[in-house]
Symmetry: C2
Subunit: 474 residues, 2 copies
């Protein structure tokens, strides 16, 4: 429901202008984002004892006024510190410094446990899979068998490329489900797609600027930028990336989501695929295919992986995060043979292969068909949840376009004239976990439906509508 | 035993001068190491079908002569390709292109399984823990409990900082075993020390050049260099890093192994610790403490972690790889509070937290004392193995100095006048897995004794002696 009546601060009381002045200042010339600066400054004040445990902090509105920043900046910093347990608030009360985090570090005997927290009353996170996607009992059986069958040697050493049994099983699975063309020695097991990008970053950086989709997935941009890659955002429309714009850029490497563009939700069109591969061959370019949810198409067979069209031009990235559990942290790279030697070295210096037992259990899940059965169950569940959420959003927000095909764990709403940052700040205030990205003048609101059973879709859609209304008014 | 009699090539036959000319050339002006170039070139020839399956390759000696490189270059490239299954050899026969790897990629139905291989007849790898260090039965019980107790939420999402239960358990453990001063919110769970360094690399890079120990652990240098960090090697002697030399460098960040310097094997002396911290405070420097095997001291209590002296100047890195299993891939960062915000962001963009179930099982192992009991058993086992290996090396190589204190999983031999690369190449030829690093005119030979039961120490030491003799003659 939208906020009505007199404006109240998030402590539930009327706005107080007499709040404590923390004597803080933020640096607008810094490249560091304002919420980061504020979070850091507050944490330091807590850590050095300037803000002892129990200190009541100014309301978000008051501190925003002191600092001359938007209230969303303060909301974000407060929220992060609350999630980290540095600040605390009880329902309807002011934000305070948590017990046991102030002052210089103490011995472990005094160490407080991390606070259990779940500040959200509705979770629309794009990566949340439906409950019971991960079958504990089945996994227990697989792990037990893995513990019996894994060799002593595999338990005493690390294979930075991954367990051979898993690499072999992945090849068969990807050929069947995604048309990927590979051999086991071209597979490198990773801790998921994000880790794959961090692992590959030195290789990509060595090839010059990296083109990314605009709008696109911000976390992966941060991963590449953190590894000192220069990025070149290239526009994306409903057919996928603009290959002409890509060709005009100086990038000879591109990161794409061809099966289900994040966040627009469309597959890369057939003619764009051909143009893209022509560009790649003509310019000796390399395509990194992020196939994060390629197994999850509900209306028809997924389009094949781009990799299948030219395995020597495409580095394929996949993950179990969307079809099994993001808590497993297992994914894979399928590499062109020309890149293998370099990628093998990069896997060694990355040092973050998933644990051997989980790898062995997953290899068993793949080879016994347990994985396929689990994905089939998940598809049925997601089909029901997506249909319900789609209908509920159409009813609650009839004027907004819902983007994308029937796939994945998200629906995307195009909200003209809104700022994505405003949408997220309003969602936080209403205790809803919701992401949005900016696309020109529009906010693209990414509604993850994995945690929303069809019986709760109407309620969830109404809360999204309330958030967008609040964002429009702020 | 040292090689005697006429020189033979590694195919077991006499040297043949009439070997096939592959028409290869290496680029000496390239920054890429010669073995890398050769490996890459051979792989490409196999991949494009120029070298079909079954093709007999020239002997190492013959190809080295063709390319005008040292034989070690060819040995290394061949060995890597053998380990990757691209090349194959049967005992005493020539090296050949393996079946099923040649030509352009095929469909998965034809994909050959990865060849099972273990080319070594003696493994002296520095990271090999003794057999049965990882107790499968105990771990099965812990995993079963973890599968029952972990929350649904923890199985449906990723905490990039690690499971709260584990972060809390790690604080108590490190306080007890290493004197580390921390609170759970300052712990970030990683996939081991190497991954921790990759995760931290953007933070370190942002502070300018990073000082590393010389001699030091080459893998970690490669990890930092891969992430575009500039390195400044600083000399190390038996008291640890030369703080005066460090202060003269332009580095304001230093990576150290204070408990057990890798590879020299000594702890950082008390006065050096004080000097180091004075330098850090005076210059606002940051110390990264790699405490990879701090639990494994056999003659007396380990020296406390450097972190305990100044938790705000030291980023502490630890791992279970040396005391439980490198196949678990679990370690941790304990961060100064001033660095937490940045490190939390870096953990998110790294995306490689270990699997939640293993984290939960480890948290139980720590909190129930199972971990401590396992480390105590390991210490007894390692004490026996180290003593036996030490005595055997003293008998087999009486003139060489054995460096380091009674700790860890390695003994270091100083071999004056030898090249580390020669030592490693000779070890490979004799099918021994052995590492060495260069220190001025000496090779420091790192003898990992984790896989050498005391009953086999004499044999192992004699094989090391044979390798060093061969290296001296080559």
């Amino acid at each position: 429901m939208p906020q009505q009546g007199p404006v109240r601060d998030d402590s539930g009381g009327p706005v107080r202008r007499a709040d404590v002045d923390l004597g803080l200042a933020l640096d607008r010339s810094s490249t560091r984002a304002l919420p980061d600066q504020l979070e850091h400054a507050l944490r330091e004040m807590v850590a050095c004892g300037e803000l002892p445990a129990g200190t009541r902090l100014p309301s978000t509105r008051s501190l925003a006024a002191q600092l001359a920043v938007s209230r969303g900046v303060v909301v974000e910093a407060y929220d992060r510190l609350q999630r980290q347990g540095v600040l605390t608030t009880r329902q309807g009360a002011a934000v305070r410094v948590a017990e046991g985090v102030d002052g210089p570090p103490r011995g472990a005997s005094e160490a407080p446990a991390l606070p259990a927290h779940d500040p959200y009353t509705l979770r629309l996170h794009p990566a949340l899979v439906p409950p019971a996607t991960f079958d504990r009992r089945a996994w227990r059986g697989l792990l037990r068998r893995a513990l019996e069958e894994v060799s002593d040697d595999a338990l005493r050493s690390t294979s930075h490329l991954g367990l051979p049994e898993l690499r072999t099983a992945v090849v068969a699975q990807l050929a069947r489900s995604r048309g990927v063309i590979a051999q086991p020695e071209r597979v490198v097991v990773t801790s998921g797609v994000t880790h794959a990008l961090q692992l590959l970053a030195p290789l990509l950086r060595g090839r010059g600027p990296v083109a990314v989709e605009e709008p696109g997935f911000l976390l992966h941009r941060a991963t590449l930028a953190g590894a000192a890659c220069e990025l070149r955002p290239v526009p994306v429309d409903r057919d996928g990336i603009d290959v002409d714009a890509l060709a005009r850029s100086d990038a000879r490497t591109v990161l794409l989501t061809p099966a289900h563009q994040m966040p627009l939700g469309y597959p890369l069109a057939a003619d764009r695929r051909r143009e893209l591969l022509r560009w790649a061959r003509d310019t000796d370019a390399l395509i990194v295919e992020d196939d994060y949810d390629g197994e999850l198409r509900y209306d028809r067979q997924s389009v094949r992986a781009l990799q299948a069209l030219d395995p020597e031009r495409v580095i394929y990235l996949g993950t179990t995060s969307k079809v099994l559990s993001p808590a497993l942290r297992i994914g894979w790279i399928v590499a062109p043979s020309s890149q293998l030697a370099g990628i093998h070295l990069l896997a060694t210096i990355a040092g973050a292969t998933p644990g051997t037992l989980d790898q062995a259990a997953l290899a068993l899940a793949l080879s016994t068909g347990a994985f396929d059965r689990s994905v089939a169950r998940l598809r049925r569940r997601c089909t029901a949840q997506r249909q319900a959420m789609n209908a509920a959003l159409a009813a609650a927000l009839p004027h907004l376009r819902r983007e994308g095909v029937e796939a994945g764990l998200t629906l995307t709403l195009r909200a003209p004239g809104l700022q994505a940052s405003q949408v997220m700040a309003c969602a936080e205030l209403q205790r809803v976990e919701l992401f949005a990205v900016q696309s020109g003048d529009d906010a693209l609101v990414i509604v993850g439906f994995g945690d929303v059973h069809e019986s709760r879709a109407t309620d969830a859609a109404e809360r999204v509508a309330a958030i967008l209304q609040a964002a429009a008014q702020s």
